[in-house]
Each structure stands twice: as structure tokens, then as C-alpha cells.
């Protein structure tokens, strides 16, 4: 089966609108979590969020999208998608080729427009422009149509592990011969829907989140999007050809499992099996992982379970941290955004600090990385665990 390489990346998050901006912010240890207020919710301006401080109308203008029915989630996806294809140097004809696939993930989809949706669903209106935009598929249906893509198109929703599963599915399309290159990624925007859902579950932190800290109070929701270009084995061979592509990293391992314990909290079996399965698929022993981009949401349950699992699987875990302290939890985008961060770790041979950590969790005593540092890295693991027990671990390796 073909190896799978990452040849292009694009990302937009609360700490930057491009991969380069995100990279600079990670080095500087910037936190993009604010009490912003560009979305309609009573919690806007009250609770901290990893908000992208660009109004939807400005995004629409920047991206020159005049179509009706395009949601903020779709605009964020388009922003990251555009950067990724430009970065990989993909031509319009390559994008339209039947062997170029698109696998995107989202959990909010068009439900960032909850008020319109409520009016439409209750027939309070004659129908808004967004009738076909509320579902998750609307994001990738737009990208497919916009770029006239003819290959396989899919949308995945496994809650907070959605875009890690999009990466996994895209890689398998290449390995099984259903595509030569795949645009994989995810997008989610802040929505009254998720904000109130997580708030009703009492896991939104009133303060900026503190992953793995003893006194953590929950997570901050964020928004963002990231897309990666995955290509099969023939990519490196093109290097001698003019206009050759860069190869950022290789996706060497992945595993998807279910915790089968509770709809909204983890026991540990799912995360353990996902991390172990990813190591097995990469044919790596535990000691070969140099850094873990942890799921680390900052909730009571996740951080303790993830710590316990890292201890039982690795004995002494490698350095780890969570980017949730920079950008919040971007839900369906998190796996893809953090895949970009993991690849930046490898490309630049460096690790970024987890923010706001003070004291370790007494039961586990683990400390995330607390300062930017250069480090020799071969293999980085990235974890995503979601509601419904959906757990996925990915392993990226130095190209």
C-alpha cells in the first residue's frame, strides 16, 4: 500500500489566518482566547472563546464569495482550503481530476446560523437563503462545486475527533487506490448551539482554559479550519521535476476506536486503544514517539484520563502539550488544525509551550511542555477524542 505524504497545508484559527501566522504565534506562545463578541449568544463577551476576530461579511469579501447561503463555517473552510492548494501548488485541472478527493469534517456545519434555522424549521418565514446550508455536508458541497471537483467527496462527523477521521479516511483512499491526492480537513465556527450544549454539560471554563492543570475548570470553545493536501508515493519522485512539491511530513500511523463507556465522558479504553493502534499501524514502539500533541481540552475528565493513558502506555510519556490553550477547542476542526501544528513541530524541529499550566494533576503528576524549545523530532502523535467515545490517534513522521 502506498505511503501517504503531506504536501500542502492551510489553517485559520484564533491565533492567525495562515500557517505562517499560526507558526509565529505558537513560537511566541500567544493565546487567541478572548471575551470576543462577534456571534449572537448571551455568553458572547462573558465567557472566553477562541474566536477568529474577522466578521463573516469581511471573510465573504476577502474570499470574493457572492453566492447566497454560504455560512461562516464554509467561509472558514474555504479560507484554509485555498491556502492549502496554493501551498501545494495544485492546479485547477489537478483539483478537477477524478483522482483528487475531498474529505472534510464539521460538527456545527450550517448550525452557526441557529436563529435562521429555528425560524425556517418553524416556518416563521417564507424560507431563508440558508435552507440547504444547515447540514454538515453543506461545507464540502460548496467546496466541491466551487472547485468543480470530480473525485470522491465525503463529510465526516464524529464530534471532536471528526477531522482526525477525515485525515484517516483520506489516507486510506490513497492506500486503497481510490484517489491519488486528497484534500482533508475540517472547519467549525462558534455557534449558540455548541456553546449552550457544552455549557449545559457544565464543561465550559469561566477562565482561559488550563490543560493538564490541577485546577482546570473546563474547556473554551474555539473556531477554525484547516486543510491538508495528502498525496501518494509518487510525490517524492517528482522532486527532480520543475515546479516540484515540498513534502512536509509523512502520515505513518492512525487508529480509530470507541471508548464504549458513556455518551459524554471517557473511561480510557478508547484513548489507549487508539494510541496503541496508531503505534502498531506505524510499526513503532512507544519509545519512538518524540512528542504528543495531546487532546488536552482542559476538562476534569479528559485531562486526567488522557494523562493516565499516557502513563500506562508510555511508562514515562514523551514531552506533550495541548494547543487548546492557544486556540480553544475547535471541535470538528481540531484534529486538522492540530495536525498542521504537529507537522510544524516536525518541519521546524521544535515544540511549543502549553499555556496556563501551574500545578500537575496530583494523581498523575504529568507536566506539559511549558516553554518553546528546539528539539530533534522523528515522530509526533496527535490525539483527538470526542463525544460518543470516538477516539482517533494519528502519527506524523519526519519526511
Amino acid at each position: 500500500m502506498s505511503r501517504v505524504f503531506i504536501t500542502g497545508m492551510g489553517v485559520i484559527s484564533a491565533i492567525g489566518n495562515t500557517t505562517a501566522e499560526n507558526h509565529r504565534a505558537l513560537i511566541a506562545g500567544n493565546c487567541g482566547i478572548t471575551k470576543g463578541a462577534n456571534f449572537p449568544s448571551r455568553y458572547a463577551g462573558v465567557l472566553p472563546f477562541g474566536e477568529i476576530l474577522i466578521p463573516t461579511s469581511a471573510l465573504q469579501e476577502q474570499l470574493r464569495v457572492s453566492d447566497t447561503g454560504v455560512t461562516r463555517t464554509t467561509l472558514l473552510a474555504l479560507h484554509a482550503f485555498k491556502e492549502a492548494i496554493a501551498d501545494a501548488g495544485l492546479s485547477p485541472s489537478q483539483l478537477m481530476s477524478p483522482d483528487t478527493a475531498l474529505v472534510g469534517a464539521t460538527t456545527v456545519g450550517g448550525m452557526c446560523l441557529m436563529d435562521q434555522m429555528f425560524d425556517d424549521a418553524n416556518k416563521n418565514t417564507g424560507g431563508s437563503d440558508f435552507l440547504s446550508s444547515y447540514d454538515c455536508a453543506s461545507v464540502n458541497m460548496f467546496l466541491q462545486a466551487h472547485y468543480k471537483m470530480k473525485g470522491l467527496v465525503n463529510t465526516i462527523n464524529t464530534a471532536c475527533s471528526s477531522s482526525s477521521n477525515a485525515i484517516l479516511y483520506g489516507a486510506r483512499l490513497i492506500k486503497n487506490g481510490f484517489a491519488k491526492r486528497v484534500l482533508v480537513g475540517g472547519a467549525d465556527s462558534l455557534s449558540k448551539f455548541t456553546i449552550n450544549g457544552f455549557n449545559a454539560l457544565h464543561i465550559l471554563s469561566p477562565e482561559i482554559c488550563a490543560p493538564f492543570d490541577r485546577d482546570r475548570q473546563g474547556l473554551n470553545l474555539g473556531e477554525g479550519a484547516a486543510f491538508l493536501v495528502l498525496e501518494g508515493e509518487d510525490v517524492p519522485r517528482r522532486e527532480e521535476a520543475p515546479g516540484h512539491r515540498k513534502v512536509y511530513a509523512e502520515l505513518t500511523g492512525y487508529c480509530n476506536t470507541n471508548d464504549a463507556y458513556h455518551p459524554s465522558s471517557l473511561s480510557g479504553d478508547g484513548p489507549y486503544l487508539a494510541m496503541k493502534g496508531a503505534l502498531q499501524s506505524a510499526q513503532l514502539s512507544e519509545d519512538r514517539i518524540d512528542f504528543i500533541n495531546a487532546h488536552g481540552t482542559g476538562t476534569e475528565n479528559n485531562d486526567e484520563v488522557e494523562s493516565r493513558v499516557m502513563l500506562s502506555l508510555f511508562g514515562t510519556p514523551p514531552p506533550f502539550s495541548s494547543a487548546k490553550s492557544n486556540i480553544g477547542h475547535t471541535l470538528g476542526a481540531a484534529g486538522a488544525v492540530e495536525a498542521v501544528y504537529s507537522i510544524l513541530n516536525l518541519v521546524h524541529q521544535e515544540i511549543y509551550a502549553g499555556l496556563n499550566f501551574k500545578e500537575p494533576i496530583p494523581a498523575t503528576g504529568l507536566r506539559p511542555v511549558q516553554a518553546y524549545q528546539k528539539m530533534s523530532l522523528e515522530h509526533v502523535m496527535s490525539n483527538s477524542f470526542g463525544f460518543g467515545g470516538n477516539c482517533t490517534s494519528l502519527i506524523f513522521s519526519k519526511a
Binding site: 449568544s41 448571551r42 455568553y43 460538527t107 448550525m111 429555528f118 425556517d120 424549521a121 418553524n122 416556518k123 435552507l131 440547504s132 444547515y134 447540514d135 454538515c136 455536508a137 464540502n140 458541497m141 466541491q144 462545486a145 471537483m149 470530480k150 470522491l152 467527496v153 465525503n154 463529510t155 465526516i156 462527523n157 464524529t158 464530534a159 477521521n165 479516511y169 486510506r172 483512499l173 492506500k175 486503497n176 487506490g177 481510490f178 449558540k192 448551539f193 449552550n196 450544549g197 449545559a200 454539560l201 480509530n256 476506536t257 470507541n258 471508548d259 464504549a260 463507556y261 455518551p263 459524554s264 479504553d269 478508547g270 486503544l273 470526542g386 463525544f387 460518543g388 467515545g389 470516538n390
Partner: protein
């Protein structure tokens, strides 16, 4: 691609294994809507059943007999396609948000609204810690679940997987689709769905799940190949069908396997919507005149994963468990009484809203 060993279906017709499967009696639409005949769910604990959204109930209800049937060889994973798995619960939660002004909300609707609630509830109730995913790509959500299963079985040939398509139609979602012009404005009966010449169709819902693996022994049916495309042009779709029939399938599939299996029944998702009828007519035109054409949306109604219902019907036909009822036949003759023609290769074509198309070839296992 793979073999189907067991199949269950909850639909607007008498299809659930717990009752007697019978498609000869036609259950009709009411107010342009086909609602599933929900069975009792004796194996779901009451306290859990009470909290389940309908889509979750149907999904878990169809999964339980398959998991029980798998016995000592539990599936290695669960793959669900659902476009609107949680939309009804989402709007209920939104109603709470608005009524209580974002304060003091209960999370039940939110947790049930997540589309992966179906696959995760199945894994929770069966303690399945394997592969678990939810494809939500609207009219191709189930097709992506099928492709996922095909890839998993190539990667792990000795395993079996549970793969299914589930969608419900409920009030809020029905309202959205109605406003979008998806359903007919005039009231019709599903019996006359294909005689209408107007835009729109009738609403439907259902769940069809399949236990699949790579072994032909004792299989119900074989899924040979799958092709999907997004296009609004009939010529692109008919060209895709011609390529498919010629065996030009994605290189991940075995080409020769398709070219050698001439369809003897064309089962289409024609749905009475005169805006997209030309796609079906165009595809029928590609096939030899003697190949009979049958339809199923008058039994299932239209919904994004309705092709899972068609796959269930195709399994029953190639397996010989069902005779093709005359109300399904569009072109060709009704087999004489007493004679049960055994279809060897059934070609499925579905078209969701004139944009998302799929072809699937299902074969008898000899």
C-alpha cells in the same frame, strides 16, 4: 468489494426481521410522508430507549439483531451513514435555548443531536471498542459508509463490520425541506408517485444495516462495485454509468469483476420529481432494452440514505428471499405466478436532488 451476510431494515414497509417480511402489501404515504413502521425494541433498556431520538432508536433497533446474529464473531467496527441523524434534536435543543434564554438548559437534546449518537450508542450497548465512524455527506452518506467498509475489509480481510444508513424525517426537518421545495405541493398517494408530473417528491425515512465481511460462504449478496459523482449534468452522469458498465471503476476496485457481471435488473431511486426525472430516463436509455427496470421510492419515500433501503431490497432479491412485487416494476414484465426469477446482478442508481449520484452493483452469491 465485500459480501453481505445479514441485513435488517426498519422502513415504512413490512421489512423488519422480527415481523414477517412482506413487500406485496403496500403501505401508503400520508400527507406526502412515509413514516417507518417502528417495531417494539425489547432489547433496548427502557431508561435508555426513552431518551433516544428516533434515528438513534431505528439505528440501534436494526443493529441489535445483527450483533446477536454475529454471535462469537462480533463486528470489528461500526460505520453509519446519516445525513440528518441529529437535526430534530438540534432544533429541540435550540427551542430550549430560545425559550430559556440560554440559561439552565438540560443537555439531553444536545447529546442526542450529535449525528454520531447512532454509531456510538450501538458501540456503547454492544461494548464494541473497534473502528467507529459516522459519514454525513448528505445524499452520499451511506455510499461513503459502504466505501469505508470496503477499504476496512481490504485492510483487515478476516474481520466483519456493521455498516448502515439511517435517517429520520420529523417535523422540523420536514418544514425545512418543504420550504426548500423538496416535496410536492399537491397531496398525492405514494401509489401514484410516478404518475405525477410536478416538482418535488414525498418524504421518507428508514434504517438499513448490514453485517459484512470478505467471505462468500453463506453470504446473502455481494457488493461488487460502487461509483459516486457530484454533477448537475445528465451527460456527465450517463457517461459515468457507461464507464461503470464497461468496468472502468476506481482502481481500488477489481475492474474485471464489473465488466463480467451484466445487470439483469436496474433498480432506481426515481422519486416522482419531474426536475430530475431526466437523469433516470437518461440512465435507463444507456442500458439494453431487455433489462427490466424497477423502483423503490414509493415504498421508502425520499431521504438522503434511501439507497440503504434499496440495497436491503436487492439483497432479498438476489438471495431469493423475496419476489419482486409488481408495484415496483417500471419496465419489463412481472414474472409469472409461481416462478421466482433469481436476479444475478442488480444495478442500483440513486440521485439525490439532482447533484449527488451513485451506482452500485449487487450480485447473487452462488
Amino acid at each position: 468489494m465485500f459480501y453481505i451476510h445479514q441485513a435488517t431494515c426498519i422502513s415504512p414497509q413490512q421489512t423488519f426481521s422480527g415481523t414477517k417480511i412482506d413487500l406485496s402489501r403496500e403501505y401508503e404515504s400520508v400527507d406526502n410522508r412515509m413514516k417507518v413502521l417502528e417495531p417494539p425494541y425489547p432489547d433496548i433498556p427502557d431508561n435508555i430507549l426513552r431518551r433516544m431520538a428516533k434515528a438513534v432508536r431505528m439505528g440501534v433497533g436494526t443493529a441489535i439483531p445483527l450483533i446477536q446474529g454475529a454471535g462469537d464473531h462480533p463486528p470489528a467496527g461500526i460505520i453509519i451513514g446519516t445525513a440528518n441523524g441529529g437535526m430534530e434534536e438540534s432544533v429541540k435543543f435550540l427551542k430550549q435555548i430560545i425559550e430559556y434564554k440560554e440559561d439552565m438548559l438540560t443537555p439531553g437534546n444536545f447529546v442526542q443531536s450529535i449525528p454520531n449518537a447512532i454509531s456510538s450508542q450501538i458501540s456503547l450497548l454492544s461494548k464494541n471498542k473497534g473502528y467507529n465512524t459516522t459519514h454525513v455527506h448528505r445524499g452520499l452518506a451511506f455510499e461513503n459508509a459502504v466505501l469505508d467498509a470496503a477499504m476496512l475489509l481490504k485492510e483487515n480481510p478476516r474481520s466483519s463490520y456493521l455498516v448502515g444508513g439511517v435517517d429520520e424525517i420529523a417535523t422540523y426537518h420536514h418544514n425545512l425541506e418543504n420550504l426548500a421545495g423538496s416535496y410536492k405541493k399537491e397531496a398525492i398517494s405514494s401509489r401514484h408517485l410516478y404518475e405525477t408530473d410536478s416538482p418535488g417528491t414525498i418524504a421518507g425515512e428508514g434504517a438499513a444495516l448490514f453485517l459484512v465481511n470478505g467471505l462468500p460462504e453463506h453470504a446473502l449478496a455481494r457488493v461488487r462495485a460502487l461509483a459516486t459523482i457530484h454533477s448537475e449534468e445528465e451527460s456527465v452522469v450517463t457517461r459515468q454509468l457507461q464507464d461503470f458498465l464497461d468496468g472502468h471503476v476506481a482502481s481500488g476496485d477489481e475492474k474485471s469483476s464489473v465488466a463480467g457481471a451484466k445487470p439483469d435488473l436496474f433498480l432506481t431511486g426515481e422519486n416522482g420529481d419531474n426536475r430530475i426525472a431526466h437523469f433516470y430516463a437518461g440512465c435507463e436509455g444507456i442500458l439494453d432494452r431487455e433489462i427490466p427496470v424497477a423502483r423503490y421510492k414509493h415504498m421508502s419515500g425520499e431521504y438522503p440514505t434511501a439507497i440503504a433501503f434499496a440495497l436491503w431490497v436487492a439483497c432479498q432479491l438476489v438471495g431469493g428471499a423475496l419476489k419482486l412485487p409488481s408495484h415496483m416494476i417500471k419496465r419489463g414484465t412481472v414474472p409469472a405466478a409461481g416462478i421466482s426469477p433469481v436476479y444475478k446482478n442488480i444495478l442500483l442508481y440513486n440521485n439525490y436532488k439532482g447533484i449527488q449520484h451513485s451506482f452500485m452493483l449487487i450480485s447473487r452469491v452462488d
